[in-house]
Structure formats: C-alpha cells, structure tokens
C-alpha cells in the first residue's frame, strides 16, 4: 500500500477524522477471547463499564433465558477491538464470561 505524499496530507499533521483509530483493529493482539454466556448474564453493565477498549457493546436486543427471564439489553463483545485482557471475565459478578484460548 502506498502512503500519501506530502502534498496530499492535510497540513500540520492535523487528523481531521475523529475516532479514526477504528481502522486499527486491535483484536489481533488477543490470545484469549471472552465469551459471554447469555444465559448466565444478568445485564449488570459491569463488563461494559470496565472494558478499556469500549469493546463490550450494549445493544437494545431483547433476550429471554431458558428459565424465562427477560432482558431488554444484550452485551456483546466486539472482537475487532477486544485485546483479550480478561477484565470483563475477572469482574463479572456471576462468572458469565469465560476466557477461551484463540485458535489460529
């Protein structure tokens, strides 16, 4: 890939696109992947709150557990960015998140 020349680049190294780091997929750093057991998850927001990447997504997606508990929200891991630190699993009060080895 050829990079832009000095004439193409905005002057002064100003980055004009906010949040352009989304192009940089840090998910490749991961050796362990968190998996959320939606059956066990109590939707307490803890993993979302503590994720250093903001890679736990809180989505308006209803979920009904096998035992009939209904939730309006679902938490999902954005594996494009999750670095696999494991804070979510460590902090989950109901141990609904398991760190699973990435298999290449």
């Amino acid at each position: 890939m050829s990079l832009p020349g000095w004439k193409q680049l905005p002057i002064g190294a100003v980055i004009l696109t906010p949040g352009s780091s989304v192009e940089y997929k840090t998910g490749e750093w991961r050796t362990l992947r968190p998996e959320i057991d939606q059956e066990k998850c109590i939707r307490c927001r803890t993993c979302w709150m503590y994720c250093p990447e903001g890679a736990i997504q809180e989505v308006e997606e209803p979920y009904k557990t096998k035992t009939g508990r209904e939730f309006k929200l679902t938490y999902k891991v954005d594996y494009d960015y999750c670095k696999g630190c494991g804070i979510c699993a460590n902090e989950c009060p109901v141990k609904a998140i398991t760190m699973v080895e990435e298999v290449i």
Partner: protein
Amino acid sequence: MSKPLTVWDLPREEYLAPGHRMCQGCGAAIAFRHILKATGKDVIITMPTSCGEITSTVYPHTAWRVPWIHVAFENAAAVASGIAAGIEALKRKGFIPKDKDIKVVAIGGDGGTFDIGFQALSGTLERGDNVLYICYDNEAYMNTGIQRSGATPLGAWTTTTPVGKVWRGEWRPKKRKDLIAVAIAHNVPYAATANPAFPVDLYMKVKKALSIKGPKVIHVLSPCVPGWRIEPEKSVEVGKLAVLTGMWINYEYENGTYRVTTPVPKRKPVREYLRLQGRFRHLTDEEIKKIQELVDAEVARINKLVGKEVIGPVEG
C-alpha cells in the same frame, strides 16, 4: 445532595474510539472513557506527552472523538489555559457563540504533573483559569519504560529504582507529594481523587468539577499492567484493593469541605494490595509494615479532615 448516581447513569456514548494502542487491561483507558462520558462532546482535551497520549494518536489514527491537542511534556496546564483564554476572548468578540459552553480539560500522567509539568500547573491554578486538570497516575514514567517519578510510592521497583544488593526499590521514606494538598494550597474550588475501578464515582467527580468555574484538579489512580507487573485482567481488581486497603482514598474537596466518596468501614491490610503486584514482590515483612504505617497515618489524616472515621481500622 442529589441522589447518588448508579452505573445506569453512565451515558452509552463513547468519545474514546476503540483501536487505540493502550496496553491490554490498561487502567488509564478505562479512566479516559469515563472522563469523556462526563465531559460530553463540548470539550477540548489537551494532553502532555504520556503513554496515553502516544498510544491514542498515532498518525493518521486518533482515538479521540472530541477536539484534542498535544503540544509538549511540561505544559498541558499552560496549553489548557491558552485554550480557555482563546475561547473566552473569541466569545467576547462574537466568534464563538456566548452561550456555547466549551469545557477545557487537561489530562496528564504523573510525570507530566508531579514532575515536569508542575510549574505550569501551579501557574494555571494560581491564576484561577477555568480548566479541569486531571492527573492519571500510574506511579512512574511508563511511556519510557517504567522509570521512577515523583509519584512512585515507597518500595516500588522501577527500572531506575531496581532491587539490588544496596537498593530495594523506591526509598523515599515518606508519603509521596500530595497533589490534592498542593491544589488546595492554590485555593482551588474543587479537588478530588478517583480511580477507574470506581467509574461512577469518577464520572460524578468530573461532572461536578466541570460545573464549577475556575481551576479544578482530579487525581486518578491508574493501574498499569506492565509497570506494576500485574496480570492484565487484574487492573480493576488492584484498583479496588487500593481503596479497600486505604492505599488510595477516593475523596473530594469542595469549598473547604472534605468528603470521602468511597467509605471503607473495615480496611484490608496493605499486603493484599501489594502482593498482587510484581513491583512490590521483593518487599520484606518489615518493609510492608513501614508502608502500612504510612497508610495508617494518611487514613488518620483524611478521617480528621472529614471529621469522622469514614475509613476504618485494618480488620483481623
């Protein structure tokens, strides 16, 4: 006092984009996310040179979804003052709408705050400039590879306070420089400590600080995976233990009144905080005892400032 906030008060909006290159399990990254949730979009952030600065803005990528500027290492407070002055002047002259409330926040590391940026910070605070200065404190120069700073605690191993036959980690025998006391000595209206293991508390403090005109300081403990020699999944746990052992006290100062925002009726021994971290692995019982004494003294001091025993004795 309004009713305490809960985790559900944290806005879903993320102004720190993923794709930043902060370390796995970085405490500062958690802090940055919640600081930005509290500032909202109408803010200008300035950062001095720091690990969080370089890892969040590698050209052409920026993790910041709000306006942001880095200038140098020792001058974040000064740059913030300039931004605030510019906004003020441009508002007066009609270039920026008068009713537009743009907050100015500097976020510096401990090196950029306690050491090299100290003079500029003092200037900003004494002039009364309308900025919020946040120090994220990982207790050493982590950007350059874990060198001792003015914020490195007693006993901590760093690459410049190594453990050898003569040296046993950082040897300053007293409590480190008290940033909040320094801020209060400048007669600031608001100063607080916070910790990313308690994001709601951090969020509340940033919100409150921004509602007050004048200079404000928030000192945030920032667990550091490589620098503290901890496992990446443990940074929040370590942050919590810092509070539960009294190594770190979440409190705020507002117009002469101190308030502990995370009371700890029964403290855990500091050993529990220290043993999770490789940087303290070499400490002997005697050395740990010395640290415990420093913590006990600080807890007593804060309790006295608050006027009651909000942090209790060590249990067991």
